[in-house]
C-alpha cells in the first residue's frame, strides 16, 4: 500500500541554501539492510522495481560529512519507522519520521 515516510532533510552546504527534502514510498520495500553496524548508509531495495533507495546519515550541521564510525542504530531507526507505517491506519498516507531521544542527526539524504 502506498504510504510515504518523510520528510528526510539534508543540507549539503554550510554557506548557501542547498537543501533536499525527501519522502519514501513504503510500497515495494521488502527488506532493509546495512553493510555493517557502523555504516552511515541504510539500503532499502524496492525489489519489484529493481530500484534501491540509499538512506544516508550525515552529521547534524549543514554540509557535515559522515559521523565517526560508531553504531548509531541507523538500521533500527529506519526499521522502526517502516514498522510504524505498516501498523498505521489505512487512511493515513504521510508519516513524519519518529526520532529516538538522543538520535545523533536529522541530516539525512535519500537517493
Amino acid at each position: 500500500m502506498t504510504k510515504f515516510l518523510g520528510p528526510f532533510e539534508n543540507s549539503d552546504s554550510s554557506e548557501n541554501l542547498d537543501f533536499y527534502t525527501t519522502w519514501v514510498n513504503l510500497d515495494a520495500i521488502v527488506t532493509i539492510r546495512q553493510d555493517s553496524a557502523t555504516s552511515s548508509t541504510v539500503e532499502a531495495p524496492q525489489y519489484s522495481a529493481g530500484r534501491r533507495l540509499d538512506i544516508e546519515f550525515y552529521g547534524p550541521n549543514p554540509g557535515d560529512g559522515d559521523l565517526p564510525d560508531t553504531d548509531y542504530n541507523y538500521l533500527r531507526f529506519v526499521n522502526a519507522n517502516f514498522i510504524y507505517m505498516l501498523e498505521s491506519s489505512p487512511t493515513d498516507f504521510f508519516f513524519e519520521p519518529q526520532y529516538p531521544k538522543d538520535f545523533p542527526t536529522r541530516n539525512i539524504y535519500v537517493s
Binding site: F4, F19, Y20, R51
Partner: protein, 273 residues
C-alpha cells in the same frame, strides 16, 4: 489508479505589448486605502499622459484591479476602490502596471501567421496566465479566462476577464490538457531548494518512479529568487500543495481517483527518462 494532475501549458508568443507604463518597487511609495491615493515620488504621471479610466493592476497578482479616478499631480493618482496593494502577509506589493482601458483586458497577436495558429488552437473558456512583470521574480497568480476570440483584419485577439500584461509571453491552458502522474508508482519524491547570494536560486520536486522508467520534475515558475527566504517559502508552498493532492487522491474511497494540484497554473512539468 490514484493520480494527480497538473495543467499543461502552451506558451503564447508574438503578442502586442499592452502596457502603458509599469512602476517598480523603487518608484512607488505608498497607497492610502482611505483616500485611495497612490503616491509614487519618482513618477511623472501627468507628463507620462496617465488618464482617468486607465486600469491599474499588480502584474504578479491581477486578480483585482482598479481604475484611475483622477490624476492629482505628477506623483499622485487617486484610484477607484479595489486596488490590492499588499500581499497576504502584509508586504507592500513590489510593483504595479497601468494599461489603457481599451487594451487592459485584451491580448492581441502581433502577426497574421501566428494569428492563424491562435485561432485554430485557443477557444473561449481556455485559461490564460502571464509571467509577471519581471521573469526573474514570479508568475502572475491570477488566471484569466478567455471570454471572446475574434479576428480583426486577420489579427487574432482574445478578450479576458482579468488584466494581464503581455510584455512577456503568456501561457494558455486548455481544458483536459494535463499531465497525469500515477501516485502509486512513485518510489520516492525529493524537493530540492537552492539559493546562492548573487547566483539566484531555484526549487523543484522530483518524483522517482518505482519502475525506474520515467521520472517527473515539477517546477514552480521562479527564476532568480531574491532571497533564501523566498526560495524556501516557494518550495514549502509547492511541496504542501503536491502532498495535499497526493493525500486527497490516496484517501479517495474510489479505486480510481484523480486530483488536480491546487494553484498548479504556473507550474512546469518535465519528464526525465
Amino acid at each position: 489508479m490514484k493520480t494527480i494532475s497538473l495543467p499543461l501549458r502552451n506558451e503564447v508568443s508574438n503578442l502586442s505589448n499592452n502596457m502603458f507604463a509599469s512602476y517598480g518597487a523603487k518608484t512607488w511609495n505608498a497607497y492610502d486605502p482611505v483616500t485611495r491615493v497612490l503616491t509614487s515620488e519618482n513618477s511623472t504621471f501627468v507628463t507620462d499622459g496617465v488618464q482617468p479610466g486607465m486600469v491599474v493592476f499588480n502584474p504578479e497578482n491581477s486578480n483585482s484591479w482598479a481604475t484611475v479616478e483622477t490624476v492629482d499631480s505628477e506623483t499622485e493618482i487617486t484610484l477607484t476602490p479595489g486596488f490590492i496593494y499588499e500581499s497576504d502577509g502584509g508586504t507592500r506589493l513590489p510593483r504595479f502596471s497601468i494599461a489603457t482601458a481599451a487594451v487592459a483586458f485584451t491580448q492581441e497577436c502581433s502577426d497574421i501567421e501566428t494569428s492563424k495558429y491562435w485561432w485554430s488552437k485557443y477557444k473561449v473558456g481556455d485559461r490564460v496566465q502571464s509571467e509577471g512583470q519581471q521573469i526573474k521574480t514570479s508568475f502572475n497568480k491570477a488566471v484569466a479566462t478567455i471570454l471572446k476570440m475574434e479576428l480583426d483584419n486577420d489579427i487574432a485577439m482574445m478578450t479576458l476577464d482579468k488584466p494581464l500584461q503581455s510584455s512577456q509571453p503568456l501561457w494558455v491552458y486548455k481544458e483536459d490538457s494535463v499531465y497525469t502522474l500515477d501516485v502509486e508508482s512513485v518510489g520516492s519524491m525529493e524537493m530540492y531548494a537552492y539559493h546562492e547570494q548573487g547566483d539566484g536560486g531555484s526549487c523543484y520536486m522530483t518524483f522517482y518512479s518505482t519502475n525506474s522508467a520515467v521520472n517527473y520534475e515539477v517546477y514552480p515558475w521562479l527564476y532568480n529568487p531574491t532571497s533564501e527566504e523566498e526560495t524556501k517559502a516557494v518550495a514549502k508552498e509547492l511541496q504542501d500543495k503536491l502532498i495535499n493532492a497526493i493525500e486527497q487522491s490516496l484517501r479517495s474511497p474510489w479505486p480510481a481517483a484523480n486530483v488536480m494540484v491546487e494553484d498548479s497554473y504556473g507550474l512546469k512539468f518535465d519528464y526525465l527518462t
